[in-house]
């Protein structure tokens, strides 16, 4: 089933993948332009910070107008769009030829869940590669003179790693106010990659299960609505908070929005979603219909 999903899933989503990669490249460029005032190279980590920073907690009286973190929302929306239609299409496309070849109905659902996780992982890997390549091209080749001057000032960091991956801690601190030099590598990995990834996977699984009972487009809309609600309310129960760097404990001081909170929240939410999905798939009637998207 894995090979079947790998092939059919990619075939269903190849144009969407192209669109997703173009969106990632666009935002890599936007991140570079936004970070160019940092006074030092920020590397892929700086770009990722800009993309995933989100917004601080919204208070109507203090903050005034409610603003959405557009890059953050669109990157998550892209992934939701990428995974949202294939499971529903597969169920109805061939009239169930793949479905009846499973031993149990739930095996089909679990196979699709594996596909969703794999697609999300590939999405984040692509994003990371694009950001690193962009840092190399933009800050490396284009900013050579600037970097030589920076080196002459005696900054001590591993040349390649500092330039293209983690950037200059001083530049990151001046741009975002994050004391990144005081954070260990594991803390950075958990907050910048692991938490957004876990949140994405959980939301994608929820969207997949919703698409079993609703039109996939509506399931996508509901998932985006939930993400938007996360921007509005800084509640740990709204998983989108864990995917926004500004809401995490090291930046905002909200202790509940931590990696352990993320694992607990995504674990409970994800398990509940899959259990509901297994109940739904047991009773679902399969009819051959037109594809949704």
């Amino acid at each position: 089933m894995f090979r079947y999903d790998l092939y059919y899933g990619f075939r269903d989503c190849r144009l969407k993948w192209l669109g997703a990669l173009l969106v990632q490249i666009y935002f890599a460029n936007a991140a570079y332009r936004a970070c160019s005032m940092a006074g030092g190279p920020v590397g892929a980590l700086g770009y990722l910070t800009w993309l995933f920073q989100g917004k601080p907690e919204y208070f109507a009286a203090e903050t005034g107008r409610f603003e959405l973190p557009v890059p953050w929302l669109l990157l998550h929306a892209c992934l939701l769009f990428l995974v949202g239609f294939y499971p529903a299409n597969d169920l109805t496309r061939s009239g169930g030829q793949a479905f009846v070849r499973m031993r149990r109905r739930r095996d089909w659902l679990l196979g699709k869940a594996v596909w969703v996780v794999g697609t999300a992982a590939a999405y984040y890997v692509c994003l990371t590669i694009i950001l690193v390549l962009y840092a190399f091209l933009a800050e490396g080749l284009a900013g050579q003179a600037y970097l030589e001057e920076w080196q002459m000032q005696g900054a001590e960091w591993n040349v390649f790693w500092g330039k293209y991956i983690t950037g200059s801690p001083e530049a990151l601190k001046s741009l975002f106010g994050i004391p990144i030099a005081e954070m260990g590598g594991m803390a950075i990995f958990l907050s910048w990659w692991a938490e957004p990834f876990l949140v994405s996977v959980t939301l994608c699984l929820a969207e997949m299960v919703l698409s079993l009972v609703l039109e996939p487009a509506l399931a996508l809309f509901l998932a985006l609505g939930y993400l938007t609600a996360s921007v509005f309310w800084a509640e740990p129960a709204l998983l989108g908070n864990y995917a926004m760097l500004m809401r995490q404990d090291f930046w905002s001081g909200i202790e509940a929005v931590s990696f352990s909170g993320c694992v607990a929240g995504c674990g409970v939410f994800g398990a509940a979603v899959l259990m509901i999905g297994m109940k739904l798939i047991r009773k679902k009637d399969i009819f051959q219909t037109e594809e949704c998207a």
Binding site: R3, Y8, S94, G96, Q97, A98, V100, D285, I286, Q288
Partner: protein, 211 residues
Amino acid sequence: MKITVTHVSKEIHGVKVLKCVTMTLEGGAVYGFLGRNGSGKTMMMRAICGLISLTEGRIEIDGRVLGKGLDFPGDMGMLLETPVFLPERTGYENLRLLAAIRGKITPEEIVSALEQVGLSAEDRRKVRKYSLGMRQRLGIACAIMEPPKLLVLDEPFNGLDEGGCRMLRELICRHREEGCLILLACHDREELESLSDHIYKVDGGVFTQVR
């Protein structure tokens, strides 16, 4: 294989599409369903394949109740509605992808299934270039490639030329002799009567055995 259908009803959006159907089906025979469009033939086939849930009643496959511990009849091949395949792959490649799910059969068996229906595994044409008859043949190959004990064929003669019809008749007879339980829905009354050991007339979700 033995299938027991007991007081099966199915309601969709308030409309009863299957009404208290009871029948016993055994391997080594062809059961024909005769009825006009929308009478319930395909719906009954879907119920036996495990694709729909029942409003009332139960279906037992060799003593095991479908929907309770058994989601699909094992060793089943089905051709329901229009067969749909990946248009940018060849027929052989399409069948290989589906066969890989269970991993029960070898590439040689896929080749044999294609040859039985008059197609070739060597044919490099993509499915998008197939005629209706070729797609139908590919659908039949898909149904028989993993040697089935239950064969569900809904309007299998659609789009087939004379040679294809002859091929399909021989294939049905051969599988029946091998002990396969075959469900066959067909608009052509003569075809159905010549192939079927038992015939059910279907009208408004009601199944009446006429032979």
